[in-house]
């Protein structure tokens, strides 16, 4: 039988009573579990190895930027293929010090996904073996998916901004 996020949260909260986990939801859609950044890696290992959980795959890791609260976050969607559980997890960090422990050693999917979150949001993953940009060139400036992103004017001498060329009408 599949378990709801609430049931999974209760189990997780009982295992980590001091970690200040939160079960949150919005008006529409799914709910998620919020985990503080310092407890994330430990809980990730627990989620993968615990016999009641066994989240063997991480389906997706996405970066999020909340400009109103000056927060950056990652959202992880986990899947337990044996038991059929799904779980959404959020880890939030302040904008001025966006460092999260890498879970690359727990789920290999995190390797490229964390690089993407670094590339697009500037979130740094501590302990990642190869923290480079992945989609943008290595010498690109800024983090494109942040809400306050302003594209650079030129890249290696090439104008990046689109300007309308005025057509001459005779």
């Amino acid at each position: 039988m599949s378990k709801t996020t609430q049931e999974l949260f209760d189990y997780l909260n009982a295992a980590f009573p001091e970690a200040e986990l939160l079960h949150e939801s919005a008006a529409l859609g799914d709910s998620w579990v919020s985990i503080p950044a310092d407890a994330w890696k430990e809980i990730a290992k627990f989620l993968r190895d615990d016999q009641q959980m066994r989240f063997d795959t991480m389906m997706c890791l996405s970066g999020i930027h909340y400009p109103d609260q000056n927060l950056l976050a990652i959202a992880c969607h986990l899947n337990a293929s044996e038991k059929g559980y799904k779980l959404a997890i959020k880890v939030k960090v302040p904008e001025d010090n966006p460092v999260i422990d890498s879970v690359e050693s727990v789920w290999k999917t995190a390797d490229w996904h964390e690089r993407e979150a670094y590339d697009m949001f500037g979130i740094e993953f501590k302990g990642h073996p190869d923290m480079r940009r992945i989609l943008c060139p290595d010498d690109w400036e800024g983090y494109p998916l942040r809400k306050d992103y302003v594209p650079q004017d030129s890249y290696q001498g090439i104008t990046t901004k689109y300007t309308e060329v005025e057509e001459s009408h005779d």
Binding site: A26, A27, L28, G29, D30, W32, D56, T57, M58, M59, C60, S62, I64, H65, A75, H77, N79, S81, G84, K86, A88, W107, K108, T109, D111, W112, M120, R133, I134, L135, C136, P137, P144, L145
Partner: protein
Amino acid sequence: MIEVVRKGNSRPEMVINMGPQHPSTHGVLRLEVTLDGELVTHVRPHIGYLHRCFEKYAEKMDDYSKVTPYTDRMDYVSAINQEHGYAIAMEKLLSIEVPDRVEHIRVIMAELQRIASHLLAVGTFGLDLGAFTPFLYVFTEREKILDIFEKTSGARLLYNYICVGGLMRDVDEDFKKDTAEFVRTFRPKITELQDLLSYNSIFIKRTANVGILPEKVALNFASSGPVLRGSGVKWDLRKNDPYSIYDRFDFDIPVGKGEVGTLGDCWDRYIVRVHEMEESCKIIEQALESMPDEGDVQQNVPKKIRTKPGEIYSRTESPRGELGYYIISDQSSKPFRLKARTPSFVNLSVLPAISRGSLMSDLVAIIGSIDIVLGEVDR
């Protein structure tokens, strides 16, 4: 292009650049390959050559429905499946029920697209290994599917057909007849393909025992689709996490068995695709039978969709694997954040792990068997 690195007294290692313009990288993928003679010691994929900021565009569009054409352009050889995934995600978020007839048309279209996509995958896979003839055979069949799509949606590659709440327009009157006719003539062609390519001894020699992906590694890398099933894992979202009306149909999930080599080799990934086309035929036949003849194909969804704050992660089985859309909505009419979890991106990340120790020429086979579309990797 070529750099020779000598470490101490050991044999010199050579670093070779493969791509981004290379016929067997299926697009603009660049691989930095470290070689010890003919043996691959390390592969470093460099991606991003086709990055078009899909996710940023989605946030900047002023309407949810305007995102659909962009999803088409992610995996441009299976556009219907991408639209289908996005429509399902939005409908789940907004709790929209879709009429039965629409669900049937969507499933038929998605399965036709799956066949077309797999045909391209097996055709180009053969082409990479020097088998030119099967490529022409499969393209003849793919053409027939594209004709059906053209008649229905007006486009041959990027359809913009499935929209949030329904379809852009009803199918044409010949749709049922054409599709039934296609399935009838296509079945014998699969047998032909098996004779031409699958059990060809040169093809088997090039693909069996090459690029073995063990089950545990596949799961840890979150591989999905034929790549995961080729390693013997019976996991298909149409069965394991049913969406749309897939729970009503009777079909199997083909998995790799290590028939000619080791479980999880290139041949297993290939043969899963061939068998999946048969299963898609089964689904299409059942769907054609139960499809209602009359009915509206558009729900009463406002032109400009306004949402409440919410989050959804919705996943569907695209021909390449698990296609997930993570949508965060706010009070406006555009997504606050839209992330596409594309199967090719995740499947490609397993390449360095499975190509270590293989021959340089086998690397071509491994890339072909993963079946990547760079539009989807780079988004």
